[in-house]
Symmetry: C2
Subunit: 279 residues, 2 copies
């Protein structure tokens, strides 16, 4: 694999940083290529603003149009172009972050906002002028996986858990971002109870992560419906005959293929000392 | 009302900025107080990092703990304290932003990451030491509404639309953020087809927004289940007897109360010139 590892954690002595080091070493040992975007180390600018684009004097900033025009004319800022070059190189993306307010930290949200530009990642058309989205797009052919840590127990992120099912919590990334731009979403690696994990308990997590990563080349992606596969009408609504009773995010999923069993590891002792690596 | 209006759009000559001006003027005309956090104008720093906290020499940054300690000791950075002071003053929050990658722009995500600190917004306990979450919390007693613009048509964000139902798309904010910290989520105001809206079509949107805002004092909130209302077990999973067949985000909702009908306005002419105000 040619892997681009996007890392978004402020502390280099954290559980997440340890897992990153473990994971990247495991990939390289197996002969995979890895490039990194360590967003904190890069002092990544997360905010889209007028400085990102060449602008006509007095012109209004219309973000989508400005992105597309700048992309077409080579006028995107150097940091965005550098990330897009890495993306073009990679066949596999790893997004690693602690889950804050049910989503990626601002620095990673802003990497998506700025790098997945109109005309590059989305807003692209096929030869007949049809929009390429949801199963096709500027990043078609690539695969992406999320590695994320949460403080809660797995039960709270289960199908009827209070935080919402982890599949739904990650749906805006898996479906609204990866699948929307044409990428396949590979099963996520979720570390539950990350606040409680002690250093003694680290080894089995590291082993699981190695297994997850080395299995990526043959992993079955999450199966979502393609926009143009026949399930949706021209109004982008599921046709009446397609699982008529279903609503919610899950209606757009065809389920997980066999063998992509969900990880449910959790620190054995819920009262574990909080002196371990930070999340 | 004492309203804090949090605004996250990079362009002051945009549809969103026009709606903000219209909305704030309408509130003030009716005698409501309004304070603003215009995140772009403030050059808001969205990234949580070590500079946010007083740190012991050589200490690891553990974000949650560092937030709680800094909040208790008055050591949060001045910009975060200023926003928390505004929050403490307000009884009603308005979050206005264009929906990017199914969520708020990084600058607003980072406002949540940095301002909703542990010990202030969440991670607070009652007199018996029980955690106050989901229907209770550091921001209990306040109400919040989202105003957001999307490029797509309403059908794509309907119950079976390809982007996911707007109620699910906004669930991480409504439930995972507002409700989690004790706030009630008021119905959102969603502007569909925002890219296509022309200046001629602005007036009815402005009227609807005025109606939305002036109705907030009596608006029925979205109804979510309280963590401690009896529907969840100690594992934070819905008890077997509570709507046994339901999964997904909607399982945690008690539905919308009467009268909070969803807005479905959309520019009449889908091919409308794109020369209007930007989103």
């Amino acid at each position: 694999m040619k892997t681009l590892w996007i890392f978004a954690h402020p502390e280099d002595r954290s559980l997440n940083a340890s897992l990153r080091d473990t994971g990247i070493a495991a990939l390289r040992e197996q002969g995979h290529q890895v490039r990194e975007s360590d967003l904190y180390a890069m002092c990544w600018k997360p905010v889209i603003d007028g400085a990102d684009f060449p602008r006509e004097t007095g012109g209004r900033l219309r973000v989508g149009e400005a992105q597309e025009r700048a992309h077409a004319g080579g006028g995107l800022s150097w940091d965005v172009r550098e990330e897009q070059e890495k993306l073009a190189w990679a066949d596999t993306l790893v997004f690693q972050f602690p889950l804050w307010w049910m989503g990626p930290p601002a620095i990673l949200k802003g990497w998506l906002d700025r790098v997945f530009t109109q005309g590059f990642a989305f807003g692209v058309k096929d030869a007949e002028g049809n929009p390429r989205r949801y199963g096709d797009g500027g990043l078609a052919g690539k695969r992406a996986t999320v590695i994320t840590s949460v403080g809660a127990r797995p039960s709270g992120f289960g199908p009827r858990g209070i935080h919402g099912h982890i599949d739904d919590v990650l749906f805006p990334l898996h479906h609204g971002t990866f699948w929307y731009t044409g990428m396949e979403a590979l099963p996520p690696f979720v570390i539950y109870g990350a606040d409680r994990l002690t250093e003694d308990e680290y080894a089995p997590y590291a082993d699981e992560l190695r297994g997850h990563l080395l299995g990526l080349p043959t992993a079955e992606p999450l199966r979502f419906r393609s926009e143009r596969g026949g399930d949706y009408g021209g109004d982008l609504v599921l046709r009446a005959g397609v699982e008529p009773e279903r609503t919610g995010f899950a209606a757009h999923s065809l389920g997980r293929a066999g063998g992509t069993e969900e990880r449910r590891r959790y620190p054995e002792d819920g009262s574990g000392a909080r002196t371990g690596m930070s999340v």
